[in-house]
């Protein structure tokens, strides 16, 4: 039985005249790896900050049954986060930062952290300021992975890192950290790098939820057709929700359409999350315009 980790009802946050969050209603269950996907200004970071109790919002927000703003101190014993890259204090050595976290976090396992670090190039005596950006993020992830938390919040955790570090980050996260019970929220612009690890996707735009569904359900519901040259018109007649040209080839996106019927017209496969997001945004925009 999955436990409700986050319950958000009509969450709103306004800055001056505009809403950064405009009525978010979602439930996140234990074991979900949820990707928050949206353009800049969609409200992803604001929503994650509200979950961490860093900002005040309107509406009813519960994280692990607690009010994140009021019970922030208690909540952070169960919730870990990396909400920016390379924010570890530069004057500290690796050992000092580990000692500090060990002293203040009741669920931090320093032996586990040292074991994770032993597989990296990070030396315990090194000052954080001499570590590369990638190693600092790796150190931060090692600390987070050694905390027995129920919820992990990642907001652009790999921004500015090269491809190798980004791949290592996510593979370590899934192979060594995720145990099926823990919940992970990830917000990133590099959607294509995380879509393989997500169990659910939350599309956001202008502070609103555009779509929230499991990857399994998305893959059943949406299909991409690359029609054969002689089937393009037939494909178009089946009313795709979106169409685009990719490397000179027509690509049509369908929602709730019979897969067998589509396979007769060409190559069929589930869409990439990034392409689906673009399509959904386009559809929403067209809906708004009309």
């Amino acid at each position: 039985m999955s436990e409700i980790i986050i319950k958000a009802e009509s969450i709103k946050k306004n800055y001056d005249a505009s809403y950064a969050l405009d009525g978010i209603d979602i439930e996140v269950l234990s074991g979900q790896i949820l990707g928050l996907i949206g353009p800049n200004g969609a409200g992803k970071s604001t929503f994650l900050q509200s979950i961490l109790g860093l900002i005040k919002t309107e509406g009813n927000l519960e994280v692990l049954g607690m009010d994140p703003r009021r019970d922030r101190h208690q909540l952070l014993k169960e919730v870990c986060s990396i909400t920016d890259v390379a924010v570890l204090p530069k004057w500290m050595t690796v050992d000092q930062v580990l000692q500090y976290v060990d002293g203040v976090h009741p669920k931090f396992d320093i032996k586990k952290c040292l074991s994770i670090l032993s597989k990296t190039d990070i030396k315990r005596s090194s000052k954080i300021k001499i570590l590369s950006r990638g190693l600092v993020v790796q150190l931060h992830l090692s600390i987070v992975m050694a905390i027995d938390a129920k919820l992990l919040v990642l907001d652009e955790p790999t921004l500015g890192l090269d491809l190798i570090y980004r791949k290592e980050f996510y593979s370590q996260l899934i192979e060594d950290y995720y145990d099926g019970d823990r919940t992970i929220l990830i917000s990133t612009h590099q959607v294509e790098e995380i879509e393989g690890v997500l169990s659910d996707a939350l599309f956001m735009n202008q502070g609103r939820v555009v779509m929230y569904d499991s990857i399994e359900s998305i893959n059943k519901k949406f299909l991409e057709l690359r029609p054969n040259n002689d089937s393009i018109e037939k494909g178009r007649s089946l009313k795709p929700i979106h169409q685009r040209i990719e490397l000179g080839r027509e690509v049509l996106l369908f929602e709730d359409t019979d897969e067998e019927k589509l396979s007769e017209l060409g190559e069929v496969r589930p869409p990439f999350i990034a392409d689906l997001f673009m399509a959904i945004m386009d559809k929403t925009k067209r809906g708004t315009d009309s």
Partner: protein, 304 residues
């Protein structure tokens, strides 16, 4: 909770070891060298402001030393040893000034505030730990320097006096009380509490201002000027000056000394009986509320 405070205090020591360990230690070593040099005749210090030389121990002075009552002798030696620590205290004073201004500004500047706030430590606990560090821990950290300085001074003087047949070796040591170490530490704690409104104001400036120095100075100058123009008084300026000075020399302190002498531990408790002390504590408490609020809500990481 004790473990958390211990971890947080250790972090402060690690971060500020230059200001509160290395700098006072270097000053202490230099002073020890100067004192030993003077006593052993290597050098005399003769400046317009300061005159220290073994030449001062002329025959009249030596006679005076031998004739002095034990109480008078103890008073002079204790006062001398206290004055000796002033350069160390002034060094640490500058360190405390810089610490208070920068401790909350630096964490915004390097964005480590995001990391600190991702851990289960409340803003109030963080602020209290920093105050405990600067009020309680820093005086304890500099005490060994003062003890070393006093030890070198008394030892050098004793060797000098013995080798010149002035007095016996134990003459000075009879007036050097180990219990004075406790007096020094209690006195420094009292000083920190007396100056607490200044400490907390500087910390507050570090939490809200992009330019902490200006953020600390400009509002105070503006308030002092406005008070002068509107009310034709200067009570805020006097309050600030009193708080920067020694607590035992403040106008509100009930016990006045006509001569330079040290204050004893029971004198410190007199400070707690003054309304001015408690006014300072209340102002500090209000500023702590301001620091906690601003630290938890200020997402501006632009600090110069």
């Amino acid at each position: 909770m004790t473990t958390i405070f211990f971890a947080m205090l250790r972090r402060e020591v690690q971060e500020h070891k230059v200001a509160f360990i290395y700098a006072p230690f270097i000053v202490t070593i230099v002073l020890c060298f100067v004192i030993a040099s003077v006593y052993f005749g290597i050098t005399d210090i003769q400046t317009a402001e300061f005159n220290f030389s073994t030449e001062i121990y002329d025959e009249d002075y030596q006679e005076g030393m031998l004739q002095a009552s034990p109480e008078a002798k103890a008073r002079v030696i204790r006062a001398g040893l206290t004055v000796l620590a002033l350069p160390v205290l002034i060094t640490v004073g500058f360190g405390i000034l810089a610490y208070n201004l920068s401790t909350f500004a630096d964490e915004r500047k390097d964005r480590s505030l995001i990391f600190w706030r991702s851990l289960p430590v409340s803003d109030l606990t963080t602020v209290i730990s920093k105050l405990l560090f600067v009020i309680l821990a820093v005086p304890l950290m500099i005490l060994p320097n003062i003890i070393l300085l006093q030890f070198v001074a008394v030892m050098s003087a004793s060797i000098y006096f013995v080798s010149n047949d002035i007095v016996s070796f134990g003459y000075l040591w009879n007036s050097y009380f180990i219990t004075d170490w406790f007096r020094i530490i209690f006195s420094l704690w009292a000083q920190a509490l007396w100056t607490l409104p200044i400490f907390t104001w500087l910390m507050f400036a570090g939490t809200y201002s992009r330019k902490p120095v200006l953020g600390a100075v400009v509002p105070l100058v503006a308030t002092v000027v406005l008070e002068g123009i509107i009310f034709k008084t200067n009570s805020i300026f006097e309050f600030i000056i009193e708080r920067i000075g020694f607590w035992s020399r403040s106008e509100s302190f009930p016990k006045k000394y006509e001569e330079v002498r040290v204050v004893d531990v029971p004198d410190i408790f007199l400070l707690f009986s003054t309304p001015e002390f408690w006014i300072g504590i209340i102002i500090s408490a209000l500023l702590v509320v301001g620091i906690v609020y601003t630290r938890s809500t200020n997402n501006d990481y632009t600090v110069e």
